[in-house]
């Protein structure tokens, strides 16, 4: 019995099956909550999987090695962000000037505010590099964090927290600010809260969701460019 366990538990087959099963359960929970941001499947699946690793005394390197296939897909998924930009090129072109100005202001605010606050708390260069890409979609944030000398796993969680919080506060904040244009509301949600903000924007309006998607994709590019410039300076 224990030899069968040992033969199976160090395989991609085992850990991929476990990860997908746990995620599917987490996703059903999220669906049942009517996609409440606090029930985001990653937020519930991650502690469950950490619990399973601890209970089975599996070292993290064994787990990550055997689930590498999932992480591999983040690369092509990032490249694919070009497709919604291309499909919505007419919308983007019509508002190009204001959109790019807002993108630049938003991206710069995201980077400066998050690193500024962490710096004020006395965070190390490694932590600054981890949080700097906090407002971009996870695959890009992880890649940027690792390029800049940060911790990709922590970057993934920081991005997740930003997304969940952003999706929760988007409607109340934008109402308070009396922003009525769905292009503006969606774009701000996408720039500040990436894919989770986009999902929330789509629940409210199709136009808002589309602009959120555009904001997310453009901000991935803008933040990558700004942080690259910063790293070179």
């Amino acid at each position: 019995m224990s030899s069968i366990w040992h033969a199976l538990q160090a395989t991609p087959l085992f850990w991929l099956a476990v990860t997908l099963l746990v995620f599917e359960g987490a996703d059903r929970l999220s669906k049942r909550s009517n996609r409440h941001p606090l029930c985001h499947p990653v937020l519930t699946a991650t502690p469950m999987l950490i619990g399973i690793l601890l209970a089975t005394r599996t070292p993290y390197p064994v787990y990550t090695q055997n689930t590498a296939m999932l992480g591999f897909l983040l690369g092509p998924a990032t490249v694919g962000l070009a497709v919604p930009l291309w499909r919505n090129r007419a919308l983007v072109r019509r508002a190009a000037g204001p959109l790019l100005l807002a993108l630049f202001a938003g991206s710069l605010t995201a980077i400066l505010s998050v690193t500024g606050i962490v710096w004020a708390f006395g965070g190390s260069a490694q932590i600054l590099a981890t949080v700097a890409p906090r407002s971009v979609t996870t695959p890009v944030a992880m890649a940027l964090a690792s390029q800049l000398g940060g911790i990709p796993a922590l970057a993934a969680v920081v991005v997740l927290i930003a997304g969940v919080f952003g999706a929760m506060v988007a409607s109340p904040l934008l109402n308070l600010m009396r922003i009525e244009d769905y292009r503006v509301r969606g774009f701000a949600a996408g720039v500040a809260a990436h894919g989770i903000g986009m999902a929330r924007a789509f629940q409210v309006s199709e136009l808002g969701g589309t602009f959120a998607g555009v904001g997310m994709a453009l901000n991935a590019a803008m933040t990558a460019l700004l942080l690259t410039l910063w790293a070179l300076l």
Partner: protein, 116 residues
Amino acid sequence: MIAAIATLLLCQLLGEGIHLLSGLPLPGPVIGMFLLLGWLLLRPGERPGLVQVSAWLTAHLSVMFVPAAVGLIEEGPVLATNGVAIIVATLASTLLTMAVTALVFRWALARTERGA
């Protein structure tokens, strides 16, 4: 379908190549995204396969970064010393970013659309 997957991988591969050659910290997949956008804009036409594959990938991004998020298991000490700062900074920065983006976009739209 296969052509679409090959296109994505090829763009990423070229992006990684440029990343390594140039030594820029810009990640390979982000360079690949620019390459794909340029290619799509230069060669007009419908791309149902590419639309389908990239929509599927984007819809399932969450499950792809679960293994990375589980990596927190090894970051206990970092979280113990920096956890509060990171959370405060993340929440405040998200609010600020959303507000600034919305204000600048609304202001600039009003200016250009009034002028038009």
